[in-house]
Symmetry: C2
Subunit: 320 residues, 2 copies
């Protein structure tokens, strides 16, 4: 069993090669550019850890891990187009640097590259890995669509928002763990418990993401300050604040989209007055505890769970 | 063995169901809308015919055929965004009707649906079908990128243009036939001959497409008259005309993008003066003959090839 640091290093070593042909450069260079921006590689490492929870690392797990990371990068490229995001990881997004059409097509071919990696999995596992991958990939698209739909709807309930986050973010984290578990020969019950662990962890992670977008250090987050507010995005913070705020505050929140820093700061000060920053941190802890309860139930020796627990704690305590 | 009409009807019967979940409607209704616009279903029928060339229809061929049609529709949705095309099959394109972001995401999920269908193929064939599918899908994206790149380059050689068309159009027709052949248990030599047949057929088909865009009946083609000229697209006609035209004509052709009908008509009249309309029809016949020479070589009884020959002749004599 390996720590996050060891696994991420091993993954990086294998992943930091060229993933695409040389020609046409206009199609493939944008993808190589984007992959070199790095990333936390959470999905591949979850896949590796899901695998190691039940057995030694399976030789095919590296292909699945690569597929997960490529798919994740595909979603980022396309999401950035849809969100008109200028920056990703502190650097120009693909559509900003190369134009929308190329970003669209480079994203498409990134998804195909994910499937190329999946197709390296041996026959015994190929059907079940592909099935889970496809189901999850569709859900990720559904989540992104709901996220966009919610921008145009004033009243989104907490439940609707959690459902969207599950689709957009959590299920792929959960599936990453489960794919590793499948290759590790885990029982169906253990697979599903691990999946639920990943789902709750994903929600906790999103709560933190929403929190950091508003209250994090922009230098460390590598994105615009209050990017969600600029983009008129629903967040855990906004949804809760709309529940609590008085009429005057609500009028400002409803017109959430701000075009300057002063407007963003006004929203942030309402968030603080409504104490949704504190509420968000408590909610994150609640989901983390639920996640750990599922992990607890998985019938393997406790010692095998150590690195997953560490990873979850590290991910959710990050300050950047 | 079945005729094109019979196979297309059988395919339509199986394919004309809902392909996507009900919710979220904002994501899936655009895809259902687009699939209901119909289409010639050439790729699935080629797959079925490639299969019947060697054996009775394999039960899995329907899944592969559906995957090919879904992938084709995914490319159309995304290409229409990139080309800013207002109409497809005489009707509003997805991005025109539902917005660019939804069209982007609906296209993404259409591609995933293609892979869902591929994953229904039995284990014995899954790896080889997926491998060919992935390789071909990447080439299609490469072709689309080159097509866009060529809009910005004045001098494109005939060879460069043919290479782009092979990637963008021909290889998927060729692969459709070959996937059917794989399921039919064809020898590698026969598979490859069939692939070459499809590739040449695809080029002939594109020559005709370019011809019809300029000289076809717009009512029957279901697209803008001279859409390629409006979009400043390279075509077989333009590339040949640039070779032949005098300096005055060339100056007009080089500034190929026209914004009104008068400009389009001026380009068309130069095409006619240079006789590239006649040249294009001769070139189409040359590629058709090369295609048929490959088909000839395939070691199965001639009678099995009958419907493929008929299909090729029908496709390439179409007036619309």
């Amino acid at each position: 069993m390996h720590s996050f640091e060891l696994l991420v290093n091993q993954f990086e070593e294998k992943f930091s090669k060229r993933h695409f042909p040389d020609q046409p450069t206009t199609l493939y260079d944008p993808n190589e550019y984007f992959l070199r921006l790095g990333g936390k590689r959470i999905r591949p490492v979850l896949c590796l850890m899901g695998n190691e929870l039940f057995d030694n690392l399976h030789k095919d797990v590296w292909h699945v891990a690569a597929a997960l990371e490529l798919f994740h990068n595909f979603t980022l490229i396309h999401d950035d187009i849809m969100d008109k995001a200028p920056l990703r990881r502190g650097t120009q997004t693909v559509h900003e640097k190369f134009g929308i059409n190329t970003a669209l097509l480079s994203g498409d071919v990134m998804m195909i590259a994910a499937y190329e990696n999946l197709n390296k999995v041996q026959s015994a596992f190929l059907h079940s890995i592909l099935k889970l991958f496809n189901e999850t990939a569709k859900k990720v698209c559904e989540g992104q669509q709901l996220d966009m739909d919610f921008e145009k709807i004033e009243n989104i309930s907490f439940e609707q928002y959690v459902n969207m986050i599950e689709l957009k973010t959590s299920v792929m984290l959960a599936a990453s763990l489960k794919m590793g578990a499948i290759l590790g020969g885990a029982s169906e019950r253990n697979q599903n418990l691990l999946y639920e662990f990943g789902k709750k962890l994903g929600i906790a992670f999103q709560i933190q993401d929403d929190y950091l977008d508003a209250f994090g250090d922009p230098q460390k987050v590598g994105k615009q300050v209050g990017g969600d507010i600029f983009a008129n995005k629903k967040t855990f913070l906004l949804i809760k604040a709309l529940e609590i705020a008085d009429e005057n505050q609500k009028a400002i929140l409803v017109n959430n989209q701000q075009t300057d820093i002063a407007g963003v700061n006004e929203i942030l000060s309402i968030f603080k007055k409504c104490k949704v920053d504190e509420w968000a941190l408590q909610l994150k802890n609640k989901y983390m505890q639920e996640a750990f309860a599922h992990l607890q139930e998985i019938a393997v020796l406790e010692v095998r769970k150590k690195h997953l627990v560490e990873l979850a704690n590290n991910l959710l305590d990050r300050k950047f």
